[in-house]
C-alpha cells in the first residue's frame, strides 16, 4: 500500500530550527490531525513533506521514492495540498477554481477533457457547490469560499491530501461540514493530514493525532491515548479538563499554565 512518509526531517531557517527530527507516516484510509501551538512548525512540516522547501536533514518519501525526485506534476497527482493562505488573484468562477485542482492532469480552463470535467463536477457536487458553480469567487461568503478550496483539493483525486488549517475562521457548522467532507474522502480510501486548532474537533474525527511543540513531534497516537491533560499542558501551555464519551471529547480550557 502507498505510504506518504517523513523520516527524521529537519528544516532550518538560517540557524534557527523550524522542524527537528520529525518522522511520521500517512496511509490511505487514515485521517490524521496535526496539532500544536502557533509557530510549532506545523506548516513548515507540511511544506517539507511536499518538497516545497529545502530540508537540512531527513527525507520525505512517497511509496518509497524521495518526493524531491518527483516532478511537480508527478507529486501533485499523488498529493493534493491546501495551503494556509489561500489568496485568489482574480474573481474567477467557482468551477474554474475547482478545475485548477486538475492542473497536474493537464486540464486547461474552459476546455476540460471528459475525465477532468467528471472529477470537477463530482468535487463540486460533494462540496455542495452546484448552485454556486458559475458564481464569481469574490461574491462568496467565507464558508462558501472554504468549500471551494476543499473542492479544488479534492478534484485532484490524489491518494493523499495535506490541508493547512482547512477550517480556520469558519463557524462550527461549516467546520463540521468541511471535516465531514474530508472524512468522506478518507472513507473512500484517501489519506488526509490536516492541521487543526480545534482539539475537540480533531479528537472526534481523526484516527490519529500528531502533537508538535517547538519544531518537534512529541506524541503520535490515537485520540484516546494522546489527548490528555498533560499533553494540553505541554503542547499548548494551558490547563484543561478533558472528558470523553460516545459523542467525542469535551475539552475545557481553564487557564494558562
Amino acid at each position: 500500500m502507498t505510504e506518504l512518509c517523513a523520516r527524521n526531517i529537519s528544516v532550518h531557517a538560517n540557524t534557527k530550527a523550524l522542524v527537528e527530527h520529525a518522522s511520521l507516516s500517512l496511509r490511505g484510509g487514515e485521517l490524521v490531525a496535526l496539532l500544536g501551538a502557533n509557530g510549532a512548525g506545523k506548516t513548515t512540516l507540511l511544506r517539507a513533506i511536499l518538497g516545497l522547501i529545502g530540508l537540512s536533514a531527513g527525507v520525505a518519501s512517497l511509496a518509497g521514492i524521495d518526493i524531491r525526485k518527483l516532478s511537480s506534476m508527478e507529486r501533485a497527482r499523488q498529493v493534493s495540498y491546501l495551503p494556509q493562505r489561500r489568496p485568489l488573484a482574480w474573481p474567477n468562477t467557482v468551477r474554474d477554481v475547482v478545475a485548477l485542482g486538475r492542473f497536474a492532469h493537464g486540464a486547461a480552463l474552459g476546455r476540460l477533457g471528459k475525465l477532468d470535467a467528471q472529477a470537477v463536477d463530482a468535487a463540486i457536487e460533494s462540496c455542495d457547490l452546484s448552485s454556486l458553480a458559475d458564481r464569481q469567487t469574490d461574491t462568496l461568503s467565507g464558508g462558501e469560499l472554504a468549500r471551494v478550496h476543499v473542492a479544488r483539493a479534492i478534484a485532484a483525486a490524489a491518494p493523499f491530501l495535506l490541508a493547512d488549517e482547512p477550517v480556520a475562521a469558519l463557524d462550527p457548522r461549516h467546520q463540521l461540514g468541511i471535516i465531514k467532507l474530508v472524512r468522506e474522502y478518507v472513507n473512500d480510501g484517501g489519506g488526509a493530514l490536516l492541521v487543526l486548532h480545534d482539539v475537540a474537533l480533531a479528537a472526534r474525527f481523526a484516527d490519529r493525532l500528531i502533537w508538535m511543540t517547538g519544531g518537534r513531534i512529541v506524541a503520535d497516537g490515537s485520540p484516546e491515548e494522546t489527548c490528555t491533560v498533560q499533553q494540553m499542558r505541554e503542547v499548548y501551555g494551558v490547563r484543561a479538563k478533558i472528558r470523553s464519551d460516545a459523542d467525542g471529547f469535551d475539552i475545557r480550557i481553564i487557564g494558562a499554565v
Binding site: P83, R86, P87, A89, N92, G101, A108, D138
Partner: protein, 329 residues
C-alpha cells in the same frame, strides 16, 4: 459572449481596422482602389501608397499592439496584479534606452540586427530584474514602485544621451524612440522584428496554463503541480523578447498592455490563460485605430503614437488603480 465569439469578433474588427488604415489618409482611397492595390492591379501611385506606406504601417501598429497586449496580460497573470504591464514596470523604457544606445553609437546602421537585439536585451534585463525582485518582495505595490524607479532611471539615462547627441539627426532619431511611432515603417522592418515578436508570444502562450494556476497564489500553484521557477523564467523571457522586439519596431509605447487585458478580462471569466489571445488582438486593434487617428488629426507636426497611447492609457491606469480590490498585498 463566449471566448470563441470574442476572438472571432476581434479578428473581424482587426481586419476591418487594417483595411480602414489602407483607405484613410491624406489621399483617401476608396474600397475598390485599395482592393485593386492589394491584388496588385492598381496604378503605381496607389500601389505605393498601400504597399509601401499604409499597409506596413498598419501591420506594424498591429504587431506592436499584440506584443504589448499579450506581454501585459502574461505579466499580470504572473504577478497577479492588473497594474503590471511592460510600460508601468519600466520594461519598455529600458528597451528604448538600449535601442537609443545603438542609435547613439551608430551601431544600428552597421548591423541590422543591432537595434532589435539590443532592445530585446534591454527588455530582458528589466523583466529579469523584476522577476528576481518579485520572489523577494511580496508586495506588488513595491514591485510597481521598483518599475517606476527603473522607468525613471532609463528616462534619465536617455535624456543624458539626448543631451550629448552628436547631431540634430540622431537627436530626432532618438526622440522618435522616446515617444514611440510607427511612421515610415516598411515590410523590411516587419520582417526583421515580427518573427522575434512571434517567438516571444509563442513562449508566453506556452505558459498559459501556469498563469491560470497562479490565480491560487504561488504556494497553492506549486501545490497543484506548477514548476514555479520554470514558469517565471518562461514568462519573463517571453515578455522580454516580445516587448523588446515591439520597442525595436515602434519605440516606447505604454499602457496598451494594461488597457487591453483589462477590457478583455470580464469576457474570459478573469482567467489569465484565456485572456492572452484576445489581449493580443485587442492590443493590436487599439494601436491600429490610434494610429489612424494620429494620421487623420489635422496637426502641423504628426502626433506620435506613443504620446496618444499615453494620453488615453495613463488616465485608464489611474482609474484601474483606483478601483482595484486590495486582495493580494
Amino acid at each position: 459572449m463566449t471566448h470563441r465569439q470574442l476572438i472571432s469578433l476581434l479578428i473581424a474588427a482587426s481586419i476591418f481596422a487594417v483595411a480602414a488604415a489602407c483607405m484613410l489618409g491624406s489621399t483617401p482611397l476608396a474600397v475598390p482602389r485599395v482592393l485593386a492595390a492589394l491584388a496588385g492591379q492598381a496604378s503605381a501611385g496607389d500601389m505605393m501608397v498601400v504597399w509601401e506606406i499604409r499597409l506596413p504601417r498598419a501591420l506594424t501598429a498591429f504587431v506592436v499592439g499584440a506584443a504589448l497586449g499579450t506581454s501585459g496580460a502574461a505579466l499580470q497573470g504572473l504577478l497577479r496584479n492588473p497594474l503590471a504591464e511592460p510600460g508601468v514596470l519600466g520594461v519598455t523604457a529600458t528597451a528604448a534606452l538600449a535601442a537609443t544606445f545603438t542609435l547613439y553609437y551608430g551601431l544600428a546602421s552597421t548591423w541590422v540586427y543591432a537595434l532589435p537585439l539590443s532592445s530585446i536585451l534591454g527588455a530582458l534585463i528589466a523583466t529579469a530584474l523584476l522577476a528576481a525582485a518579485a520572489i523577494r518582495i511580496k508586495s506588488v505595490v513595491t514591485l510597481i514602485l521598483l518599475g517606476v524607479g527603473l522607468s525613471s532611471f532609463s528616462a534619465a539615462a536617455m535624456s543624458l544621451l539626448l543631451n550629448f547627441a552628436p547631431n540634430p539627426f540622431s537627436l530626432s532619431d532618438m526622440i522618435n524612440w522616446l515617444l514611440g511611432s510607427v511612421a515610415n515603417r516598411s515590410f523590411d522592418d516587419l520582417k526583421l522584428s515580427a518573427p522575434l515578436v512571434a517567438l516571444g508570444l509563442a513562449l508566453l502562450f506556452a505558459t498559459r496554463r501556469g498563469l491560470s494556476a497562479l490565480t491560487l497564489g504561488e504556494e497553492a500553484a506549486s501545490g497543484v503541480g506548477l514548476n514555479l521557477r520554470r514558469q517565471r523564467l518562461a514568462v519573463v523571457t517571453g515578455a522580454g523578447i516580445a516587448t523588446g522586439a515591439a520597442v525595436a519596431l515602434a519605440g516606447a509605447i505604454g499602457f496598451v498592455g494594461i488597457v487591453a487585458p483589462h477590457i478583455v478580462r470580464p469576457f474570459v471569466n478573469h482567467d489569465p490563460a484565456r485572456s492572452l489571445v484576445p489581449s493580443a488582438l485587442l492590443g493590436g486593434l487599439m494601436l491600429v485605430i490610434a494610429d489612424i487617428g494620429v494620421r487623420l488629426l489635422p496637426t502641423n507636426a504628426e502626433l506620435k503614437l506613443g504620446v496618444v497611447a499615453a494620453l488615453i492609457g495613463a488616465p485608464a491606469f489611474v482609474w484601474i488603480a483606483f478601483r482595484r480590490r486590495a486582495v493580494n498585498d
